[in-house]
């Protein structure tokens, strides 16, 4: 399916105009920057409405098949739409587990029944999806998941606990990794993968209150919860393989994402922009030599990451420690973000001590909240310290 540059540009103009005309007004409360920050019903309703609107306009799931609610066009159009959404700084399309993980998986390996049942409602935000991989005792050690699923006639009986379930309290379905066989030689072979309903007796969620004071994740408890046997995806014992495939979508290593803005990027430009009316010692803060020096260092840190992403693909310039740039990207990027957001609060003078809820907080406490939330990236997906160990061992060859 070949798309001319002119067609792309025409589409870009169209979608840009739509975003401009349909950019929602400020709702009067802080909107989530990521799908992990949907803490209350009004945020949820706002984002559902927005995603539904984007999909109805034809700018979400553009490359998914038409018969399942998609647009059936070339992926390049979705990429253009996503870029325009970012450029116009519209709200996120929050149903990320559905749009980016479960949806592509169902599209690729799901049965006809599964496709018909789930895909369209993911796009329209009628069904919210969550993910049940992590467990309290096995943060990063997925293969060791202990939540049990026991076949009983036409049903599976679930027992166990998951944690860090994003939007667990709002979700209608969960992609669930559970152990159907505890006696396999390799722990991975005992795992199975389910598309489990959440509205089932025996499945309970308890919201986790975050450092920000808000909600976004839950603990999820399974107590003799019975789900239909048809919720099993693939066959028993294929759970690990399907989970790994799911993570490929998450990392963008495999295409299929429905698109939409998954997170609001907060850049160093945003930070500098908020400073234009801040003063220090009676002078504009941007004229303070100490602050200027620190800002330059933060800019360099961020620029080095962008340059590293380019250099990573130039083999002669990565020969001494191949893989180093790719493996350390998460560590460098998340730590840089954390430092930058912390610094942004530091620049606000006494107002830096205000928080979300105070009328005088700068940008409604945006930076305070953003700083706290940045830890979800330096801790989640393997803490920075674990990342450093992995790099030391795999790249530098240091002993365990």
């Amino acid at each position: 399916m070949s798309v001319t540059e002119q067609e792309q540009e025409e589409f870009r103009i169209e979608v840009s105009a739509w975003m401009k005309d349909n950019q929602p007004a400020d709702p009067g409360f802080l909107l989530p920057q990521t799908f992990m920050e949907v803490g209350d019903e009004r945020q949820l309703e706002f984002l559902r409405e927005w995603q539904h609107k984007v999909w109805s306009a034809g700018y979400l799931g553009m490359a998914w098949p038409k018969e399942y609610g998609g647009g059936g066009v070339a992926p390049v159009f979705q990429a253009i739409a996503d870029r325009e959404m970012r450029r116009h700084a519209v709200p996120i399309c929050f149903n990320v587990i559905g749009l980016g993980w479960a949806g592509p998986l169902i599209n690729d390996i799901g049965s006809e029944r599964e496709k018909e049942k789930y895909l369209k409602r993911i796009l329209s935000a009628e069904d919210i999806w969550c993910q049940g991989f992590s467990e309290p005792d096995h943060g990063s050690d997925l293969g060791n998941a202990q939540t049990r699923a026991v076949r009983d006639g036409d049903e599976y009986v679930l027992n166990g606990q998951k944690i860090w379930t994003t939007m667990g309290n709002f979700a209608h379905y969960m992609i669930l990794l559970a152990r159907t066989n505890p006696n396999t030689e390799r722990k991975y072979d005992g795992l199975s993968y389910f598309l489990s309903p959440m509205d089932v007796p025996g499945i309970e969620t308890r919201p986790i209150r975050k450092i920000t004071g808000e909600y976004g994740f839950t603990e999820t408890f399974f107590t003799d919860a019975r789900i239909p046997a048809e919720c099993l995806m693939g066959e028993e014992g294929q759970g690990w393989k399907i989970a790994m495939q799911t993570l490929q979508y998450e990392r963008g290593a495999e295409a299929g994402n429905a698109g939409g803005l998954a997170m609001v990027r907060v850049t160093i430009d945003d930070m500098i922009a908020q400073l234009h009316d801040v003063s220090r010692d009676g002078e504009p803060v941007l004229e303070d030599p100490v602050i200027r020096d620190q800002l330059v260092q933060l800019i360099m840190e961020e620029k080095a990451i962008s340059l590293g992403d380019r250099r990573a693909h130039i083999n002669p310039l990565t020969s001494d420690y191949p893989g180093s740039l790719l493996l350390s990207h998460k560590l460098r990027a998340t730590e840089a973000t954390r430092r930058m957001r912390q610094f942004a609060i530091n620049l606000q003078g006494a107002a830096g001590g205000l928080y979300v809820g105070d009328d005088e907080a700068r940008q409604g406490g945006f930076w305070q909240r953003a700083y706290f939330n940045s830890f979800s990236a330096t801790i989640g997906g393997g803490t920075s310290q674990v990342q450093a160990n992995i790099i030391a061992e795999h790249i530098l060859g240091l002993p365990k």
Binding site: T267, I268, D269, I272, L286, P289, R292, D293, L295, V296, Q297, I299, M300, E301, E302, K303, A304, S306, L307, G308, R310, R311, I314, P316, L317, D320, Y321, S324, L325, S328, L331, R332, Q385, A388, N389, I391, A392, I395, L396, G397, L398, P399, K400
Partner: protein, 375 residues
């Protein structure tokens, strides 16, 4: 427009080949034993090795073909500088390359110049710029009178004792100018060598008072000021490239030790207190390499533009801070061994302090970056 700005980074096939050749050459010709053999000699390098570098065409990499160079541009020298830094190989190659750039850029259209041809053929040349320790001081008290007589003393002149030619930055009729001086024109005892913290490097104070410069050896005109600015930025870039190479081999030295040294019954590399700083050095070296090759992508024959200036300054600010950290930790992580002259960590910590002070330290460049990025 984002403050992150230009992020282009490319490597040509010629550069990639040169990088390969330079690394191989430096690894073979400059093992640590050879580096150490030069620490206390007058010139700090092996004349025969210099001859081989000239034969490889390295003195002419950034000079046009019309004067015997290979026309690859200053970007290609970045690869060689990195390789030399990795092997801690001194020699006046970088000072000579920079002097040639200053001459070339101050006189557009001087491609067939005889002096540049001499440099391409291996004539060692250095720039005499500083009159005090301040890289940010743009004043010149060294003067070239109307009759061609020089007055003044220059400090921190790189590789002065090995140089055949000096490009002296002077004030002439109220504007900066260049005077080309041959070693034989200097008075007896005009060169007073410095004792440098980095024993692989050489510099000296040079007295030019009384030297008469022939009209043909004077460079004046509006091109000089712009060429001087580019000279300082390119000097910062090549120092950064060299420091990046040194930091990379410093990291290798640290990693080797952490993998072999045992304490309390364990390899010390298994301790996170040493592992994590080693990773920090790796990521800093990665940032340095990205910056130097980004800068190399942006510097061409024309006067350096804003993006190129930002890139050179960032490269210098990053790379020499990286080497300072790496050298400092190399000494510490080698424990008692690290405190000895015998341990190679000393070479890196000394190079780090020297590199930081060439062409402006990190603060010097960040101060100017703030102006470029925030005003």
């Amino acid at each position: 427009m984002s403050v992150i700005g230009n992020t282009s980074l490319r490597l040509s096939e010629e550069q990639a080949m040169l990088l390969d050749v330079a690394r191989e050459f430096c690894r073979n010709k400059s093992p640590m034993a050879s580096v150490r053999a030069q620490l206390e000699t007058d010139t700090g390098f092996d004349e025969a090795l210099w001859g081989e570098m000239v034969a490889l065409g390295w003195t002419g990499i950034a000079l046009p073909e019309s004067c015997g160079g290979s026309g690859l541009g200053i970007a290609a020298v970045v690869t060689v500088a990195e390789a030399m830094g990795r092997a801690m190989l001194g020699t006046p190659l970088l000072s000579t390359t920079l002097a040639a750039q200053l001459l070339l850029r101050s006189r557009p259209g001087s491609e067939a110049d005889a002096v540049l041809a001499d440099i391409a053929a291996g004539s060692r040349t250095t720039v005499a710029l500083l009159e005090n320790a301040d890289w940010g001081d743009t004043g010149l008290s060294c003067t070239l009178a109307a009759d061609g007589v020089l007055t003044g003393t220059k400090k921190f002149v790189a590789d002065a004792e090995a140089a055949a030619l000096f490009v002296v930055v002077v004030e002439h009729e109220g504007a900066p100018a260049l005077a080309i001086v041959r070693t034989e024109q200097l008075a007896e005892g005009a060169i007073t060598a410095n004792t440098l913290i980095d024993q692989t490097k050489r510099s000296a104070t040079v007295e030019f008072t009384g030297v008469t410069v022939a009209p043909a050896d004077m460079v004046t005109g509006p091109g000089v000021a712009s060429a001087l600015r580019d000279f300082q930025l390119l000097g910062a870039l090549l120092t950064a490239a060299e420091a990046t190479g040194s930091a990379a081999s410093c990291l290798d030295t640290i990693v080797d030790y952490l993998k072999t040294r045992k304490q309390f019954g364990k390899l010390i590399g298994s301790y996170q207190a040493l592992k994590h700083p080693a990773v920090e050095i790796l990521t800093q070296v990665d940032a340095s390499r990205s910056f130097i090759y980004h800068a190399a992508t942006l510097v061409g024959e024309d006067p350096l533009d804003r993006d190129a200036e930002i890139a050179c300054r960032m490269a210098k600010a990053q790379a020499t801070e990286t080497l300072r950290y790496a050298g400092d930790r190399a000494v510490q992580f080698h424990g008692g061994m690290g405190f000895t002259y015998e341990c190679d960590a000393q070479l890196y910590i000394r190079r780090a302090q020297w590199s930081q002070q060439q062409f402006g330290d990190a603060q010097h460049h960040r101060k100017r970056l703030a102006k470029l990025l925030l005003d």
